[in-house]
């Protein structure tokens, strides 16, 4: 029981003077500098201080056969920048000073209240009873109360959903009404436009008619020389047409025929010749001037084959639905047999 406090007024709690502090700092600095210099070098180069390699020296060695030889011994060179070989290891703890006087007061007596506070009741398991036996599943199910739960739905819930439903319907109706009105308006607009266009067209037609009427008397004033020239032009065109027809009928030389008859060098010059494609060899290998792998695309693309296997037929054509064909009533296919095949003997004549 601490009744009164210790009198600490007698203690001198003033901090040491600045001079003393500076002295202390200088002393510490001096002491630390030595250890620090070593550690800095160690930290700089691969965790090991740079040391001078030993000079090589010579050893006299007598072999088993009695032959004497001189061996040169020198240190193996190491890379000073090499990483530390060993990662951090847990260094065993240094000597701990055990001779410390424990000065604390003895532990207080625990009151029963404290004891009660510390008592933690064991957890109640759903799987095992206090004796450690497993509880049967039906008891567990009945105990967990999942069937005891009474679901009560609030009165407001149906009301709420009803209102929501009503609101949605109203909204939909509104939207459709608005749409109908808009449609009607658009129709009216388009009708109006159409009428306008029609009027305009009629007006234009009327104008044109009036113009034609005005021009007709001019046509009659045409000179006879013009008429003659027209006649000649017409006849010439007829003649050209006739010639063309005759040419066609007599199969004169056509472009197609000309192409067929051309020499291969001529075809190459015209760019018409197509190289024949071989199906046995991979064409990508032929493009040698760009390198061997030029035709194969980039490296991460996986295309071993230059083209798909069934290129000429699509997937739909690989298999044919025979049953479907039959049902369509294909006359060419024979109808299914009902009885085994009967062979007929060939009669000799």
């Amino acid at each position: 029981m601490e009744l009164v406090k210790k009198d600490i007024s007698g203690y001198d709690l003033t901090r040491p003077s600045l001079e003393e502090i500076a002295n202390n700092t200088a002393k510490t600095k001096q002491a630390l500098e030595q250890t620090l210099n070593g550690t800095i070098i160690a930290a700089k180069v691969g965790g090991e201080p740079l040391r001078k390699t030993q000079d090589p020296y010579y050893v006299k060695h007598t072999g088993l056969d009695g032959q004497e030889r001189i061996i040169r011994m020198h240190e193996q060179q190491t890379d000073p920048m090499e990483c530390v070989k060993f990662s951090h290891r847990r260094v065993p703890r240094g000597q701990v000073d055990d001779h410390v006087r424990i000065e604390r007061s003895p532990p207080r007596q625990i009151t029963s209240k404290d004891q009660k506070n510390w008592k933690i009741p064991p957890c109640i398991s759903n799987w095992k009873n206090s004796k450690g036996y497993t509880i049967p599943i039906e008891m567990r199910l009945s105990a967990d109360g999942r069937y005891l739960r009474d679901t009560t739905i609030s009165e407001r819930f149906p009301k709420h959903s009803e209102t929501l439903y009503q609101a949605e319907r109203n909204a939909r109706e509104e939207v459709s009404a608005r749409e109908a009105i808009q449609k009607k308006l658009a129709l009216k607009e388009s009708l109006k436009k159409e009428n306008q266009m029609r009027e305009l067209a009629a007006q234009a037609r009327a104008e044109r008619n009036s113009l034609v009427k005005n021009e007709q008397p001019k046509k009659r004033e045409r000179s006879s020389s013009v008429e003659e020239r027209e006649k000649i032009r017409f006849e010439r065109s007829r003649e050209i047409e006739r010639d063309r027809r005759i040419e066609n009928a007599g199969r004169k030389v056509q472009k197609k025929d000309r192409d067929m008859e051309r020499d291969i060098s001529e075809k190459i010059a015209l760019g018409q010749a197509q190289p024949t494609k071989s199906k046995l060899l991979d064409e990508r290998l032929f493009n040698q001037n760009e390198g061997v792998d030029a035709g194969f695309g980039s490296e991460d693309e996986y295309n071993v084959y230059d083209k798909p296997l069934f290129n000429d037929r699509s997937g739909a054509n690989i298999y044919r639905n025979i049953r479907g064909d039959r049902e369509e009533g294909d006359a060419a296919l024979p109808k299914g047999r009902s009885n085994p095949v009967q062979f007929e003997r060939v009669r000799e004549e």
Partner: protein
């Protein structure tokens, strides 16, 4: 003659060999006798008070044996936070206080009145527990480190987020903004210590070597040294510029929770989970003294700014120690909760942040606990997330910043409306000092 002596030795050995190492049992009567003598010499000339005290003690003894005995006497005045022991000492103090004779004889310390503190601002920005705070030397911003691996820098005046620093891969446990460099040091549970250059907001140095999460940092005020303590039971000393580890201070057998440093001796003190405080000699790297008075893990140690003394906080008590040798001066009776951090300002207001979310304010000179604030968790957190991890005064000592378990940072200030008449110091807060004979 020699034979006789050896014979004697043998006999004694036979007799007492079995008892070697056994504790000497003190009869109970002796204890009582010692206590009686002590109290008699102490209360010389005031027999009735002694009698009263003895009577009280008898009642207590009965209470200890049988807790159901008169339960009405057990009143919790401060939300049942203060221990029963303190209650009793207070009531007996009151008894002495009422006695005029004794009052004349005993020296007293009047607690200094301090204004009440109140919550000013709650800053929510971190996504994990906020573990640590540091205020910059210019008092314009403060930095917080959190379990969400981020360090956030906030404007002190407005509470606006200025910057988020990302670089750690585990909870940031401590931050120190250096007074002499434009550096911010951070340590983390990912075993790393980083040095941030605040001109570029980048990590410029790593201090590599801890084998486990690093829990606390401290900078030497005059030398370029950085101290870090860790779960690997060591305190390491780093050279700030070269990143080299100068020395390892080994000796603790538990997590070293906190470290504090100052220029005069002892230059480093560490508080550990093994309940010991160690004072270290920096020039040799040896332990100067081990203080063993605490019963619980020590999570915070702090040097007093003016007195040549330091304070340590454990779950049982706060203790004040004298520098340089570490002589025990005084207890600040704790409330039994774990204390995560302590802070003290120039007005000698001592603040402790508890793991149960209680922020306690003490008058340093008398040890009177003048205010307790239970923090409110921010909406959306569990009630068990009320916990204070770090407390820190700003450089002026007028704002208190706390880092909390509910992912917020709270700023407290002094209440202008509180006065000595609205929050008087109760008479029993007066501290009686044991006279010297």
């Amino acid at each position: 003659m020699e034979d006789l002596v050896t014979e004697n030795l043998k006999r004694t050995y036979c007799l007492f060999a079995a008892n070697q190492g056994a504790r000497v049992k003190r009869p109970r009567d002796i204890d009582i006798l010692v206590n009686d003598t002590k109290s008699r010499s102490f209360y010389k000339g005031i027999p009735d008070v002694v009698e009263e005290v003895i009577k009280k003690r008898k009642i207590e003894e009965k209470k200890l044996e049988n807790p159901s005995y008169n339960p009405n006497t057990d009143i919790d005045s401060l939300k049942a936070l203060l221990s029963r022991r303190e209650e009793e000492s207070k009531s007996s103090q009151l008894a002495i206080f009422q006695d005029k004779h004794l009052n004349l004889r005993l020296k007293t310390i009047e607690p200094v009145w301090h204004p009440q503190w109140k919550l000013m601002r709650v800053i929510s920005g971190h996504q994990g527990w906020v573990r640590c705070i540091t205020v910059d030397p210019t008092n314009s911003w403060f930095a917080t480190g959190s379990n969400d691996r981020m360090i956030k820098i906030w404007d002190l005046a407005s509470g606006q987020l200025k910057l988020s620093l990302v670089g750690h891969i585990n909870a940031v446990r401590d931050l120190v903004a250096s007074d002499r460099h434009s550096y911010l040091f951070s340590c983390s549970e990912d075993k790393t210590i980083n040095c941030w250059d605040l001109e570029y907001n980048k990590i410029i140095r790593h201090y590599h070597g801890h084998l486990n999460g690093v829990y606390s940092l401290s900078i030497h005020p005059t030398l370029d040294l950085l101290f870090s303590t860790s779960r690997d039971c060591t305190c390491r000393v780093w050279d700030i510029r070269t990143k080299a580890q100068v020395m390892v201070l080994e000796g603790h057998t538990g997590t070293v929770w906190d470290v504090a440093s100052q220029a005069p001796e002892p230059q480093i003190i560490t508080g550990s989970a093994d309940t010991f405080i160690k004072l270290w000699d920096l020039s040799t790297g040896r332990c100067m003294n081990t203080l063993t008075r605490h019963k619980k893990a020590i999570r915070a140690v702090k040097f007093h700014h003016e007195d040549y003394a330091f304070i340590s906080a454990a779950a049982d008590n706060l203790k004040l120690w004298k520098c340089p040798e570490g002589e025990f001066l005084r207890n600040f009776p704790g409330n039994g909760s774990i204390i995560n951090d302590i802070a003290i300002n120039e007005d000698n207001v001592l603040v402790t942040g508890g793991d149960d979310g209680v922020l306690s304010f003490w008058d340093y000179s008398s040890g009177y606990n003048f205010q307790n604030i239970q923090t409110q968790v921010q909406p959306g957190s569990l009630s068990c997330e009320a916990g204070i991890f770090a407390t820190c005064f700003d450089r002026s000592g007028l704002r208190l910043i706390t880092a909390e378990c509910d992912k917020t940072i709270k700023i407290y200030k002094e209440d202008e409306n509180s006065s000595i008449s609205s929050h008087p110091i109760p008479p029993e807060a007066k501290v009686f000092i044991k006279p010297k004979y």
